[in-house]
Amino acid sequence: MSGVLRRLATGVAGILFSTIAIFLLLRALPGDVATARLGTDATPEALAELRREYGFDRPLVVQYFDWLADAARGDLGRSLLSGTSVTDDVLDRLDVTLPLIAASTALSIVVASAVGRRTALQRRHRRTVATMTLTQLGLAVPTFVVAIVLIMLFAVRLNVLPAGGFPVDGWSAIGASLRSLVLPTAALAASQTAMLARFARSSALDFASSDAFRTARAAGRSRHAALLSGRRLVVAPVLTVASLQVATLVTGAVVVESVFALPGLGSMLVRDIANRDYPKVQSVLLVVVLMVFALRAVVNFANDRLDPRRSE
């Protein structure tokens, strides 16, 4: 139980630290937000008006705590450009981003564990060498390049899946929605899978040289069945690495959404950064950080269920 509490405390501390970092980077470092919005030739009155409207004229500390308090109540402020509620924009876009991230996480863990088990049993097999070379290459290909290659193969050459975009009606056209998420999910999961597969393999190899494995073999189980009997122990380290990689996956989503022109949180973030919509960027980044910590908590929870010794 104390393990859970400690993790909760580190999580909260991490989130708080991230909010301070985001706030300071966006508010203290750059020039004036109002000038960035209205341009250098704006009248002082207009600038003062905008500052008052968005509360930029108050002390930084007050702004920071107001931002946090509002966010805690679910109010993420308003966009500097369109004036729309950031909370609404974010909720709208999570429809795409959450399924994308969840599917990629699950896909990469499942595929990597299977690859790890298989390649651990056939140490010197040609297929193992080929698979491990493939994972090494998979690690080297940046996500956006994977995405471009997938578009080229499946959308342009074979024309079986859409090259990008998402149905305007959202999830009410469920078939089309799912189809438009297939390539983005694969692209996002690719390098993650390659990395996790390498850990899964070494973890499976560790188990294959353990007493538990030898005992299972002595009891007459096949090598495959013996390895399967230790699947919890084999998957646990993979989940640990996956939980550390969550942040990379979430930024990968930013990239993938941009390449596939998906109306997700990430593509919105990139556009808002280009538009210098600081208040919105700040709140969207907060959501991204929260997502990172939430997803990590989910993976850690699953890991605790697999290996109860961890939470003691």
């Binding site: 630290f17 991230s18 966006l26 750059p30 080297a140 471009i148 080229m152 342009v156 393999r201 990139v270």
Partner: protein, 271 residues
């Protein structure tokens, strides 16, 4: 000692790309920015080995110049990462407990924000530029270097020979200089190749998104973004920068793996 194929391949790739980047300082086949509207989308020929792009610029020259952009960014980010990482990690190892705890908390929090996200924030705050991207990548990679370094440095500080040197009157500064930093060199070498490969991915991704190296400096990421719309008709244009990005990352990954195998022979078990 057995030759490690990863080390050989990694060194070869990194040396070749480094050579290309050096070459670009003195010579490229053509001016990478010279526009020749009569020769747009030219197929590879003896004059233009990799053909020309949508504006009639020589692709090979751009790829070579891109190597310089990419490797310079990677080098600068790695120097920042290793400096931060070694300093924080060593400080953590010799500092009093409370300071160690504080430093570790900060490091953990920064590790939670990956390089790319930090770079996005900085790009948002300061406008897109190579140096902004480099600083962000350096800080983010530095945090993970610090996490590893702290672990190693703590082990060194507790080693019997270091205790012996302490008992014979060596100051903390001397211990850090003579024992900790010197023994960290192999670890830091492995970490540098990791940081370099992260930096190359991050720089090209940021440039691809339009938040990294601004035009007109040739960069692999921006070449990919600019040629993507001609994918259907001229797939080779997109292929070249993609191949070079992957090659560079692969080179640094293999180099890191090779160095790690050299340092820790037990890893051969997992091959």
């Amino acid at each position: 000692m057995k030759r490690s194929p990863s080390l050989v391949a990694g060194t070869a790739i990194v040396t070749c790309l480094g050579g290309l980047a050096m070459l670009s300082v003195f010579w490229t086949p053509y001016d990478p920015l010279a526009v020749d509207s009569a020769a747009r989308f030219a197929a590879p020929t003896l004059q233009h080995l990799l053909g020309t792009d949508q504006l009639g610029r020589d692709v090979l020259s751009n790829v070579i110049e891109g190597a310089r952009t990419s490797l310079l960014a990677a080098f600068a980010a790695t120097v920042i990462a290793i400096t931060i990482g070694a300093a924080l990690g060593t400080a953590s190892a010799v500092a009093p407990r409370w300071l160690d705890g504080l430093l570790s908390a900060v490091v953990t929090a920064v590790v939670a924000l990956p390089a790319l996200l930090l770079a996005l924030v900085l790009a948002a705050a300061r406008g897109p530029s190579t140096s902004t991207a480099v600083v962000a990548i350096g800080i983010a990679a530095g945090a993970s270097v610090a996490a590893v370094t702290r672990f190693e440095a703590a082990a060194i500080v507790r080693a019997p020979y270091v205790l012996a040197s302490r008992f014979s009157g060596a100051s903390t500064a001397l211990v850090v200089r003579r024992h900790v930093l010197r023994n960290l060199v192999p670890t830091l070498a492995v970490q540098s190749s990791g940081a370099a490969s992260i930096a190359i991915v991050a720089e090209s991704t940021l440039s691809y998104l339009g938040l990294g190296t601004p035009p007109p400096t040739p960069s692999w990421g921006r070449m990919l973004a600019a040629t993507q719309q001609y994918l259907l008709v001229h797939p080779l244009l997109t292929l070249w920068p993609a191949v070079f990005v992957c090659l560079a990352v692969l080179g640094f990954n293999l180099l890191g793996d090779g160095l790690r195998e050299r340092l820790d022979p037990t890893l051969a078990h997992y091959r």
